[in-house]
Amino acid sequence: MGQPAPAVLLPDMSAAGEVSLESLRGKVVYVDFWASWCGPCRISFPILEQLRNELGPEGFEVLAINVDEVEADARQFLADVTVSYPVVRDANGTTPLAFGVMGMPTGYLVDRTGVVRVIHQGFRKSDGEPLRASIVELLGE
């Protein structure tokens, strides 16, 4: 919180190559830790997708980090719930440890300068609106 976000450099699940948080610097990024077995994660995906479609042109991006132990479970989830934002995979838990994830899901709203500004634990349908407000505030900085 209030500190620069830890570095993220992880393999992209939908394309070849790797995605880094560094490469998204200048954007407001929602770093979302999720797993296929986590119920609220399923609720969050469509809402994040919608926020990304709406606010993407103004500089908002979602970086979803999958922490499933079994990659096939994650792929099955992504086949059901498709999103257009980058989804990367951390198989050994280094990134959630670096971020200090306390529960699933946890999202970190990172401002344009790479500093973590809001931590969002859990996800309910009604969380979309306050999250949108936080994103808009950070986009306006």
């Binding site: 919180m1 209030g2 119920g39 529960g103 946890t106 809001v118 859990g122 309910r124 349908k125």
Partner: protein, 386 residues
């Protein structure tokens, strides 16, 4: 009153976004309500073995048979609530042990009630549950109605997770008010109308032991008060109060190589009628390719007889029951469950064999001729609205 957020002055933005880093403005991790609505239907058949001719007067006799249909619905409501509805219909027919008499050879034999019992039972149970940060709480109301028996029960339960989410504390209380009006059948009954109250409390704690193991312990106390005598048994005189304790432990362990989970559950039970019992339940949930799962399970149960259990009546006893349920016995049951998931559907098939014997118990006592063996079969279909 205020202008839209995005037009606000940059000082307010700076203050607000900096303030939002403080813990008071960070949402806590919430217990999640179910994501989807689930519905399920089940049909089960319960079938008691005929009683052996050497154990009953008048030769072998058909015993109890029950057809059960169950409906289950669980739906998320609003953002933090869920609602569950469970309905069960049971259709019972057959004979039940009436009383135990002495045969010419001196061995006790059971006298059956004849195929006189024919009853249906409907049970409706509704639960609303609220999911708050770090836990949930539920309120349940259950109504059960038969020709001769009505029950109204209310239960409240709650679960609370520790901050690290590794430990969950749970508690529940329930109260039930039952009305007994034995009406049907041709056999004489012990009462025309009676009441019984059952109050129960339970506390439990469960804990994550490792990435692959969970353990839980529970303790419950139940107080029964009222007409506890069986209205249909020939001579049955039971105390009008019963205090029961039960302690339970459960363990779940996942094994990667076979892709299976081991379930072990144990319960110790004790009451002031001098009944004690041990129950061990073991199941192996084996995942198979193509979304199949097969679950063999075994259960062992043994109980000490109630202090007023005797096969043969003596009017001088203050309390008396020849009901086999209160005798000393041991019971083994084993069964198999098969589950297959396809898309949003899942189908369940299960069968269970239950056998009792006085000699299988760890407690000795008079053997009741009325001990029961049964088969249970079931088929269920569940659907998730994704």
């Amino acid at each position: 009153m205020s202008r839209p957020k995005d037009e606000r002055n940059k000082t307010v933005l700076a203050l607000t976004s900096s303030a939002l880093l403080l813990p008071a403005y960070q949402g806590a991790l919430a217990d999640a309500q179910p994501e989807f609505t689930e519905v399920g239907m089940r049909y089960s058949k319960y079938d008691e073995d005929d009683i052996l001719s050497r154990k009953a007067f008048g030769g072998g006799s058909e015993r109890y048979e029950i057809d059960v249909a169950q409906f289950h619905l669980l739906a998320p409501v609003a953002d933090q609530w869920s609602f569950a509805l469970d309905v069960a219909w049971e259709d019972m027919s057959g004979a039940s042990p009436w009383f135990v008499g002495e045969s010419a050879s001196g061995s006790p034999k059971v006298i059956m009630s004849g195929a006189s019992i024919e009853d249906t039972r409907t049970e409706v149970s509704g639960t609303t549950r609220y999911y708050f940060d770090r836990g949930n709480a539920g309120l349940n109301y259950t109504y059960s109605d038969e020709d001769d028996y009505t029950s109204n029960a209310v239960a409240v339960d709650g679960a609370f997770n520790s901050e690290d989410g590794l430990t969950t504390y749970s508690a529940a209380v329930s109260t039930s008010h039952d009305d007994i009006d034995p009406t049907q059948g041709t056999i004489p009954t012990n009462t025309l109308s009676a009441r019984k109250d059952v109050n129960s409390v339970w506390v439990g704690v469960s804990r994550i032991v490792s990435k692959r193991a969970l353990v839980r312990f529970g303790l419950s106390y139940t107080y029964r008060d009222g007409f506890l005598t069986d209205p249909y048994k020939g001579d049955d005189r039971r105390p009008d109060e019963r205090k029961e304790w039960a302690a339970s432990a459960g363990y779940r362990h996942f094994f990667d190589a076979p892709n299976a989970a081991l379930h072990v559950d144990y319960r110790y039970f004790n009451d002031d009628w001098d009944v004690q019992s041990h129950t061990v339940d073991i199941a192996w949930e084996q995942n198979l390719p193509q979304n199949f799962r097969v679950t063999p399970f075994i259960r062992y149960y043994t109980q000490h007889e109630a202090e007023f259990f005797y096969n043969l009546e003596d009017p001088s006893y203050e309390y008396f029951a020849d009901d086999y349920r209160l005798s000393a016995f041991g019971a083994f049951s084993y069964g198999l469950r098969l589950r297959h998931d396809f898309g949003d559907w899942s189908i369940n098939l299960d069968a269970e064999r239950y056998k009792t014997d006085e000699s299988w118990g760890i407690y000795s006592g008079e053997e009741s001729p009325g001990l029961v063996d049964f088969w249970r079969y079931g088929i269920g279909l569940d659907y998730i609205f994704r």
